[in-house]
C-alpha cells in the first residue's frame, strides 16, 4: 500500500508535466484552430536558452526564468502568430499542418546551429540534492516543484479564464467557437495572446523536463508528443479534462514501471505515451462533418493526359541515360537517392496532394518495404517488391484505422504516433535488423538484365519513377482519382452526394503506403544495407515539407522535391558553416507555401502551356533533369530565364 502511494506521487509528478505541455497546446488550438506541432520545439529552444543563461552565463535562476518565460517565450509566440499563423486562417488543414511542421524543423535547425549537438550539456534539477523520503522511495524537490507548478498553472488558467476580460474572450472560443465573435472580442488580439501564452507554457514544460531527460534537441522536441495524448483526452478543447488526461498518462506510465517485468518494460516504455495516444484516438467520437472549405485563388496544376505523361516519362529516362555516363559514382548515388526520394514523394502526391490526407510516417513504410525485401528475399527477387508493396500497404491500412472516423489533423497525429512507435518498437528491435542493426538489401535482375551496377541501377530507379508517375496520373484521371480530389475539396459535399469516404480514405492510405514500401526496396538497394536509424519520423517530415515546397499536387513537384532532397548532402558540403541544412532549408522554404499551396513548380504552368502550343497538343516538357544537382540547377536557371522572357 505504501509503495502504491509512493508510486502514485511520482506518477502525479510525471503527469503534471504532460498536463503542462498539453495545456499549452490546447490554449493555442482552441483559440486559433491551429494544432502547433512545433510546441515541443518551442519548449526545447526555451530550455536551451534557460541553460545558456543560468549554466553558461551564470544568471540566477529566478531572473532567467522571468526573462525566458516572461519575455523570450511570449515574444516568440507573438512573432509566430504575427508572421506565420495569421495568414493561415481558412487555409486547408494539410497546409496548416505543414506550416507548423516547418516551424518545428526551423527551430531544430536554428538550435543546432546555436548549440552544437556534439557538446554535452547538463541542465541541473531545481533544488538539486534535496529530496524527501516518502515510504520506500525518494521524491526529489524537483518532482515536488513540478506538481506545485502544475497546480499553480491550473489555478492561473482558471483565474485567467474566469476573472479577466481577455481570458473570458478566450474561453468563449474554447466553449463555443461559433459564439466567440458575438462577445465582441477582437479575435486577432485573442489569438496573439494565446500564442504568447502557449509558448510560455511550452517553455515552462521544457525547462522542467530537460533536467529529467537530457538537454538534447531532438529528444526534447519529440517528448512533447507525450503531451498530445493528454490533449486528446480533453479533445483539444477542455482544459480540466486535459489535466485529467495528463495525470492518467503519468500514473499509467509509473505503474507500468512498478509492475511490468524489466525486459518487457524496456521494450515498450518509450512507446507508452504513443500507445496511450493511439487508444485515445480510437475512442474519440466521430468527427462532425462541416461545410466550409478552404478556398484557393490559385489554379491547380493541370493534369497531364496519358500521351503527355508517357512522353514525359520517356523523356525523363532519356535525359537520365544521356547524363548518367558522364557522372561519377558518388554523383550517381546522389542522383539515385534523389529519384528514390522522388518516388517516396510520389506516394505523398497521391495521399496529400490529391486526397488531402497528411501522413507523417512515410519513411516508416519505406522501412517496411526495405525490410520485406532484405529479410525475405535478400534483394534479388521481383517477389520482394510485391511483398514490400503488400506488407507496407497492409500495415498502412492498420495505421490509418483509428483516424478513419476522424478528420485530417487526427490522421496526421495517429501517423505520427505510429511512426514513433515503429521506430522504437520495430526498427530498433534487434530481431528486425539483426544484431548490430544492418540488414543487407540487394539489387534485382529483371528479365535476365542485371541492375547491379550503379549506372544501371540509377536508370532502373528513374524508369520505376517514370512508370509510377504515369500510373499515378492515370489514377488521378480516373474515377478513383476524381473521388480523392472531391474528398479533399469538400468532404461535406461528398457526403451529400451519397459518398461514404471511409473506404476511400483507407484505400488511398494503403495505396500510398504501398508505393512508399516499393520505394523502400530501391532505397535499400541503393545503399546496399539499411539500419535502425534510417527511418526516423523527422525524415518523413523533411520529405513532406520538401515536396510541399516544390508542389505536392503534381508528379513534377515530386520529381523536383526528390532531386532537391538528394542534393542536400552536396549543398551541406558547400555550406559547412550552416549545420543542419536539412532542417533549416525546408523550414524556411515552407513559409512560401501559405502563398501558393501548389508549390513553386506550379509557377511554371504558363511555360508548359507555351511549349504545348508550340508542339501542338501533347508533348509535356521533360518534367526535369534526372541528372545530378548541378544539372538540375542549371536547368532551373534556364527555366527561370524562359519564364522571364515569357513574363
Amino acid at each position: 500500500m505504501t509503495t502504491f502511494l509512493a508510486y502514485t506521487i511520482v506518477g502525479i509528478a510525471t503527469g503534471c508535466i504532460y498536463a503542462l505541455t498539453a495545456s499549452g497546446l490546447v490554449v493555442t488550438y482552441t483559440t486559433s484552430g491551429i494544432f502547433n506541432f512545433a510546441h515541443g520545439a518551442i519548449g526545447m529552444v526555451m530550455a536551451f536558452t534557460f541553460w545558456e543563461l543560468t549554466v553558461k552565463d551564470g544568471w540566477p535562476q529566478w531572473l532567467a526564468l522571468i526573462v525566458v518565460l516572461g519575455l523570450f517565450a511570449p515574444l516568440l509566440g507573438y512573432l509566430i502568430d504575427r508572421l506565420l499563423m495569421r495568414n493561415l486562417h481558412g487555409a486547408s488543414t494539410s497546409t496548416q499542418i505543414v506550416m507548423t511542421l516547418g516551424l518545428l524543423l526551423l527551430l531544430i535547425g536554428v538550435a543546432t546551429v546555436r548549440w552544437n549537438p556534439g557538446e554535452a550539456r547538463v541542465l541541473p534539477e531545481f533544488f538539486i540534492g534535496h529530496h524527501i523520503r516518502l515510504f520506500t522511495i525518494n521524491v526529489t524537490y524537483h518532482q515536488l516543484t513540478m506538481i506545485a507548478v502544475a497546480v499553480l498553472v491550473a489555478a492561473f488558467l482558471r483565474l485567467l479564464f474566469t476573472r479577466t476580460q481577455i481570458g473570458i474572450a478566450m474561453r468563449a472560443v474554447v466553449d463555443d467557437p461559433e459564439l466567440a465573435s458575438l462577445t465582441g472580442a477582437d479575435p486577432d488580439r485573442v489569438r496573439a495572446v494565446s500564442w504568447a501564452l502557449g509558448a510560455s507554457l511550452a517553455g515552462l514544460a521544457g525547462i522542467l523536463l530537460a533536467p529529467l531527460v537530457s538537454l538534447d534537441i531532438i529528444l526534447l522536441t519529440l517528448l512533447v508528443i507525450n503531451g498530445y495524448a493528454a490533449a486528446m483526452v480533453g479533445r483539444l478543447k477542455s482544459l480540466p479534462l486535459t489535466f485529467v488526461g495528463g495525470l492518467a498518462l503519468g500514473l499509467a506510465e509509473t505503474y507500468a514501471i512498478w509492475k511490468l517485468p524489466t525486459g518487457l518494460l524496456n521494450k515498450i516504455r518509450p512507446s507508452l505515451p504513443i500507445i496511450f495516444l493511439y487508444l485515445v484516438l480510437l475512442v474519440l467520437p466521430q468527427a462532425k462533418l462541416r461545410a466550409g472549405r478552404a478556398v484557393s485563388l490559385r489554379r491547380p496544376p493541370r493534369v497531364a493526359g496519358l500521351g503527355e505523361s508517357i512522353i514525359g516519362g520517356v523523356a525523363l529516362v532519356g535525359v537520365a541515360a544521356l547524363i548518367a555516363p558522364h557522372m561519377s559514382r558518388s554523383d550517381l548515388t546522389l542522383a539515385g537517392q534523389g529519384m528514390v526520394f522522388a518516388l517516396i514523394m510520389l506516394s505523398l502526391v497521391l495521399l496529400t496532394g490529391y486526397a488531402g490526407q497528411t501522413s507523417l510516417a512515410q519513411m516508416t513504410f519505406v522501412g517496411i518495404g526495405a525490410f520485406a525485401m532484405g529479410k525475405y528475399f535478400g534483394g534479388a527477387s521481383l517477389l520482394g517488391i510485391l511483398l514490400a508493396a503488400v506488407l507496407a500497404g497492409a500495415i498502412g491500412a492498420v495505421a490509418a484505422l483509428p483516424a478513419l472516423r476522424l478528420q485530417g489533423l487526427y490522421l496526421a497525429l495517429s501517423t505520427l504516433a505510429f511512426a514513433e512507435a515503429m521506430s522504437t518498437m520495430f526498427f530498433k528491435n534487434a530481431a528486425v535488423f539483426g544484431y548490430g542493426g544492418r540488414l543487407a538489401v540487394g539489387r534485382p535482375s529483371v528479365l535476365g538484365v542485371s541492375f547491379h551496377g550503379d549506372h544501371a541501377y540509377f536508370l532502373l530507379i528513374t524508369g520505376v519513377f517514370a512508370l509510377a508517375g504515369i500510373g499515378v496520373l492515370a489514377l488521378r484521371r480516373g474515377k478513383f482519382g476524381r473521388k480523392l480530389v472531391a474528398m479533399k475539396d469538400s468532404p461535406a459535399a461528398c457526403a451529400t452526394l451519397g459518398i461514404d469516404l471511409t473506404f476511400t480514405k483507407l484505400a488511398v492510405f494503403a495505396l500510398s503506403a504501398s508505393l512508399a514500401g516499393v520505394a523502400g526496396v530501391f532505397f535499400g538497394g541503393l545503399r546496399g544495407q539499411v539500419g535502425p536509424n534510417d527511418f526516423e519520423m523527422l525524415q518523413s517530415l523533411v520529405l513532406l515539407l520538401l515536396v510541399t515546397i516544390s508542389g505536392i499536387s503534381s508528379v513534377t513537384g515530386a520529381l523536383m522535391g526528390g532531386l532537391t532532397f538528394g542534393l542536400i548532402p552536396r549543398l551541406q558540403q558547400t555550406f559547412k558553416s550552416v549545420r543542419s541544412l536539412t532542417y533549416i532549408g525546408p523550414g524556411l522554404g515552407i513559409l512560401g507555401v501559405g502563398r501558393n499551396p501548389y508549390g513553386y513548380t506550379s509557377e511554371f504552368a504558363p511555360l508548359g502551356a507555351r511549349i504545348r502550343r508550340r508542339f501542338g497538343r501533347g508533348a509535356e516538357p521533360p518534367a526535369g533533369p534526372a541528372g545530378d544537382g548541378s544539372a538540375a540547377s542549371a536547368n532551373l536557371e534556364e527555366v527561370d530565364d524562359l519564364v522571364g522572357v515569357a513574363g
Binding site: 462533418l289 478556398v295 485563388l297 476524381r482 461535406a492 459518398i499
Partner: protein, 256 residues
C-alpha cells in the same frame, strides 16, 4: 404524400435559438419556396434536412421514413441532393469532373443503369456549362460555380432537391435559364425546395412558400397570399432588431 416532411425541428447554438420548432413540407412536382431575412435559419434547416446538423429536437421524414438519425451519405442515397449557399464545389476539379463525381457516385450506390458519362454530358448541356466544361471550378465566377453545384446535385437523380440561393451572382439571362430549369425539374416530378433572396424568381416559380423569421415559421401560402401577408412585410421591412439579426447571421455563417 410529401417527399419531405420536417416536424417541430429545433436547433440551439449555446443560448441562441437558430430554429424554434419549424414544420415544413415539400411535395413532388412543385417548387416550394423557403424565404426569410438573413439569419432566419434557412441554411440551418437545410443542414438539418441533409444531416450536416443534428437538431436539438424534432424529426425529419423522407417519404414518410424517419431519417432524423441517419448520416448525410445515407440520406443522399434516399435521393436527396442539395447545393450550398457558401459554395462547396470541388474547386480543383473541372466542371465536367465535378458533375462526373456525382454521376459516378450515384451509379455506385443505386441500381441505375445510366452511363455516368452520358448523364454528365446531358447535364452540362442542360445547365449551360458547355463552354467551361474543361475549366477548374476555382477559376469560375461565383455565378457559374453555383450552376456547377446545381448540375452536380442533379447528377444523383434526386427526388428532393434543396437549392440554397442558386440565383445569387447570376445575370438576368442566367436567372431566366435557372427559372426554366427549376420549372422543368418540378415538371419531371421532382420536389424542389428553394431558398432565394431574388423575390421575383421565387414568386415566379414557387407554388407554395414558407417564410422563416428568427427561426420561426411566420407565414405559409401561395405567392399571392405571401405577398399580401403583413407579418412577412414586417419581417422584411426592418422592424426587427438589427443587432440580433446580425448576430444570428454570424452564428449561421460560423456554423457553416
Amino acid at each position: 404524400m410529401s417527399v419531405l416532411r420536417v416536424e417541430a425541428v429545433e436547433v440551439r447554438f449555446g443560448g441562441v435559438t437558430a430554429l424554434g420548432g419549424v414544420d415544413l413540407q415539400a411535395d413532388a412536382g412543385r417548387v416550394t419556396g423557403l424565404i426569410g431575412p438573413n439569419g432566419a435559419g434557412k441554411t440551418t434547416l437545410f443542414n438539418v434536412i441533409t444531416g450536416l446538423q443534428t437538431p436539438t429536437a424534432g424529426r425529419v421524414y423522407l417519404d414518410e421514413q424517419d431519417v432524423t438519425h441517419k448520416k448525410p451519405h445515407q440520406r443522399a442515397r434516399l435521393r436527396v441532393a442539395r447545393t450550398f449557399q457558401r459554395l462547396e464545389v470541388f474547386g480543383s476539379l473541372t466542371t465536367r469532373e465535378n458533375i462526373m463525381v456525382a454521376a459516378e457516385a450515384c451509379q455506385s450506390w443505386s441500381n441505375d443503369n445510366e452511363n455516368p458519362k452520358v448523364v454528365t454530358e446531358e447535364i452540362i448541356d442542360r445547365v449551360g456549362l458547355r463552354d467551361v466544361a474543361e475549366s477548374p471550378v476555382d477559376a469560375l465566377s461565383t455565378g457559374l460555380a453555383r450552376l456547377v453545384e446545381l448540375g452536380r446535385s442533379m447528377a444523383t437523380r434526386p427526388r428532393l432537391l434543396l437549392l440554397d440561393e442558386p440565383g445569387s451572382g447570376l445575370d438576368n439571362n442566367e436567372t431566366d435559364g435557372l427559372a426554366r430549369i427549376l420549372v422543368e425539374l418540378a415538371g419531371e416530378g421532382m420536389a424542389v425546395l428553394l431558398v432565394e433572396h431574388d423575390m421575383e424568381l421565387v414568386m415566379r416559380v414557387c407554388s407554395e412558400i414558407f417564410v422563416l423569421d428568427f427561426g420561426r415559421l411566420i407565414a405559409r401560402g401561395n405567392p399571392t397570399e405571401i405577398q399580401a401577408d403583413e407579418a412577412v412585410h414586417a419581417a422584411y421591412l426592418g422592424t426587427e432588431d438589427d443587432a440580433k439579426d446580425t448576430a444570428l447571421e454570424q452564428v449561421e455563417e460560423a456554423v457553416l
